[in-house]
């Protein structure tokens, strides 16, 4: 039996466009751009940034000048024993842009402007949301992905990631205008607002499990598993993550909250996310964006950023490291070359998202 290398890639690419929204949470942050422009910010030497990058990431050797001239560099993360987990790391230089400006640009960036990223709706959330904060659901696009979400909701299908208690709240009512019936909108507005409130009060630990259709999966266990299997990254971000609600109770940092409707593997998926960032020594920055709830497709997704100020071609710039990690049941069924293919797709999608971001922002090339 003689086989050509036919890849059986599970098409989960769209779910891997992880960056969405970034917050600006550090006290006194508004002063930092001014300091930077005046050249008064504490500068980090290139060697420090590059060696710091090498100390915890997959990128052991980086030539800043080369990196600044090229596109984003991506690589798969270290192999992980849990088959549900997948990680990709990337790095690039944002020329002529400081870490603070990068954080601000990420915060402002709107993924919904790019149809290829398949983010249909995005909305910021207050810390105490009501059903009114999910009004946009009524204007969900009429496409196959959204119809599949509606059908799964009305059937309370097994792929729906909700708790048993949440499932009991659904009552099929009359349809409404638009692709999403009023009963479906009301159900999701209730689920999403309740989950947002529990995240604000108790972090990811307070999230109800996905146990509506059998095995109980907790997003907080998944994100902790992802970090546990990447020890160097966990150590690099431990102080920062300890102040967030990611994988634990509510932290001291206040999150920027949002919800989104996007497409994962041809299915419409509703997600809840939170982003944090914090400045460190030498004008470095760390940022985290967690998708702590997803109605399907994946259990949890986490994107971490480390940013260092560097000077390239005489311009103050930023060396950016980005780590994307995801836990999904469907990844567990991938083996061998299928897994390599899935990693490649994830790397490709992250490259695409970063390239679009850089193109959209002044620091892009």
């Amino acid at each position: 039996m003689w086989h050509w290398p036919s890849l059986v890639l599970l098409m989960k690419a769209k779910m891997l466009n992880l960056p969405r929204h970034f917050s600006l949470k550090v006290c006194g942050l508004s002063l930092l751009p001014l300091l930077w422009l005046l050249g008064l910010g504490p500068a980090t030497a290139h060697a420090d940034a590059v060696s710091d990058l090498a100390s915890f990431s997959i990128f052991s050797k980086v030539d800043l000048a080369q990196l600044a001239k090229g596109d984003v560099k991506t690589s798969h993360g270290p192999p992980m024993s849990n088959p549900r987990f997948l990680a990709v790391q990337s790095c690039y230089v944002a020329l002529g842009s400081s870490p603070v400006q990068q954080i601000e640009a990420l915060r402002r960036w709107d993924a919904t402007r790019h149809r290829e990223l398949k983010v249909f709706l995005h909305s910021d959330l207050p810390s105490n949301p009501t059903a009114a904060n999910f009004e946009k659901l009524k204007s969900a696009p009429d496409n196959a992905s959204v119809r599949s979400l509606v059908a799964a909701t009305q059937k309370l299908g097994p792929d729906l990631q909700i708790s048993r208690e949440e499932a009991k709240k659904f009552s099929a009512g009359a349809g409404g205008g638009g692709p999403m019936p009023a009963s479906v909108v009301a159900f999701w507005a209730d689920v999403l607002s309740a989950r947002t409130k529990s995240f604000v009060s108790g972090g990811m630990s307070a999230q109800p499990p996905y146990d509506h259709s059998g095995a109980s999966i907790r997003a907080t266990d998944e994100v902790n598993g992802l970090l546990r299997e990447q020890g160097k990254i966990r150590n690099q971000f431990s102080g920062f993550l300890g102040a967030t609600g990611i994988g634990r109770g509510a932290g001291s940092l206040k999150p920027e909250l949002y919800w989104e409707l996007l497409e994962v593997d041809d299915q419409g998926v509703l997600t809840l996310g939170a982003s944090y960032n914090r400045g460190g020594a030498g004008s470095t920055y760390q940022s985290a964006d967690v998708s702590y709830y997803a109605s399907g497709g994946y259990y949890v997704a986490l994107t971490l950023y480390q940013m260092w100020p560097v000077t390239v071609e005489g311009k103050p710039s930023t060396l950016v490291w980005r780590g994307d990690m995801i836990s999904a049941a469907s990844l567990g069924s991938l083996h061998g070359v299928e897994r390599l293919g899935s990693e490649s797709v994830m790397m490709k999608n992250i490259s695409k998202a970063v390239t679009l971001f850089r193109r959209d922002t002044s620091g892009g090339r």
């Binding site: 086989h3 050509w4 290398p5 098409m11 690419a13 196959a144 083996h335 061998g336 797709v345 490709k348």
Partner: protein, 307 residues
């Protein structure tokens, strides 16, 4: 219809034993001794195909009529992840049995046992390359083995991931004992819609329709070509002395439809029926060739999976 039932039994037993092993490991995991084994990634196949009565012809007059065929395959490949990529290391056994009439100048058995050694490498976010060889013994009855029975066919192939829904495949298969030692091939894998997949890649091009998460239907083909060395006295016995110890390249094409049923995350059952439109026994160095005169229906069952 020779020994078909027997072969089916072997195929199913082989797969069943794998199943049993998997469950055993899972149960033992709690007591830890086999714990690490549950993480040994591997893929397996146990497959059996029966092809009904068909005919072949050599020249205008020499015919071999109404013979059936049985093709059994078992393979087990470990696929651990290494820093270079995904290693592929295992073994494969394949046996063709033909229910030939007496005095047909064709072997009634073609058989191979080979190691599978290969590596899948990720060169970028768009390119994955597989290099794989199958060193082993390619013979008939394994009753008089020598170094001449050893062969090392190999292939190198690359996949270009254009997008999550479209991949292009290019490769080359090398077998120094084959009539055409180097055969290039190209293919495409295109997810046309959420439930439709065109997997036009040799040796098993398919058009698939995903009925649900566990069941897919497909139509497609299976192209087979392998070289074997026949016995030292094969030619003398059959009245063509130049066929003694000769190389035979056996080729066949099956076209049909079937289904994949994912019984569990690690076991998929496949059933397929169709028609075999092409078959060729080619002693190309001795210039003796039997080509298909009449096709035949076939049925295939398979248990396969990975964990």
């Amino acid at each position: 219809m020779k020994r078909f039932g027997y072969r089916i039994f072997i195929a199913v037993c082989a797969a069943a034993s794998l199943l049993f092993a998997t469950r055993g490991f899972a149960e033992e995991n709690t007591s830890n001794w086999f714990g690490s084994l549950t993480h040994v990634p591997l893929e397996y196949t146990a497959e059996d195909t029966y092809v009904g009565d068909g005919d072949v012809r050599r020249g205008p007059n020499k015919r071999v009529n109404d013979f059936d065929e049985n093709d059994s395959i078992v393979h087990l490949i470990f696929t651990p992840r290494t820093s270079l990529g995904v290693l592929r290391f295992g073994a494969e056994w394949e046996r063709f049995s033909f229910g030939l009439p007496d005095h047909a100048a064709l072997p009634d058995t073609l058989q191979s046992v080979s190691l599978v050694t290969g590596l899948d490498m990720q060169f970028s976010d768009s390119i994955i390359v597989r290099v794989e060889g199958q060193p082993g013994v390619y013979d008939t009855e394994f009753d008089n083995l020598g170094w001449d029975n050893f062969n090392f066919p190999f292939m190198v192939g690359g996949t270009y991931i254009y997008s999550p829904t479209l991949q292009l495949i290019l490769g080359v298969s090398v077998d120094v004992e084959r009539k055409y030692p180097v055969i290039p091939a190209a293919g495409v894998r295109w997810k046309m819609a959420s439930q439709w997949l065109l997997d036009a890649v040799l040796p098993t091009p398919r058009l698939e329709y995903e009925m649900n998460k566990d069941v897919s239907l497909y139509v497609g083909a299976n192209v087979k070509q392998t070289s074997y060395r026949v016995d030292d006295d094969f030619g003398t016995t059959n009245g063509i002395p130049r066929l003694n110890h000769a190389i035979l390249t056996y080729s066949e094409v099956r076209t049909g439809g079937g289904f994949d049923w994912k019984i569990s995350p690690v076991v998929t059952f496949t059933g397929e029926v169709g028609y075999q439109p092409y078959r060729n026994f080619d002693f190309y160095r001795a210039e003796v060739r039997y080509h298909q005169e009449g096709g035949a229906p076939y049925g295939m069952i398979s248990l396969h999976g990975a964990f």
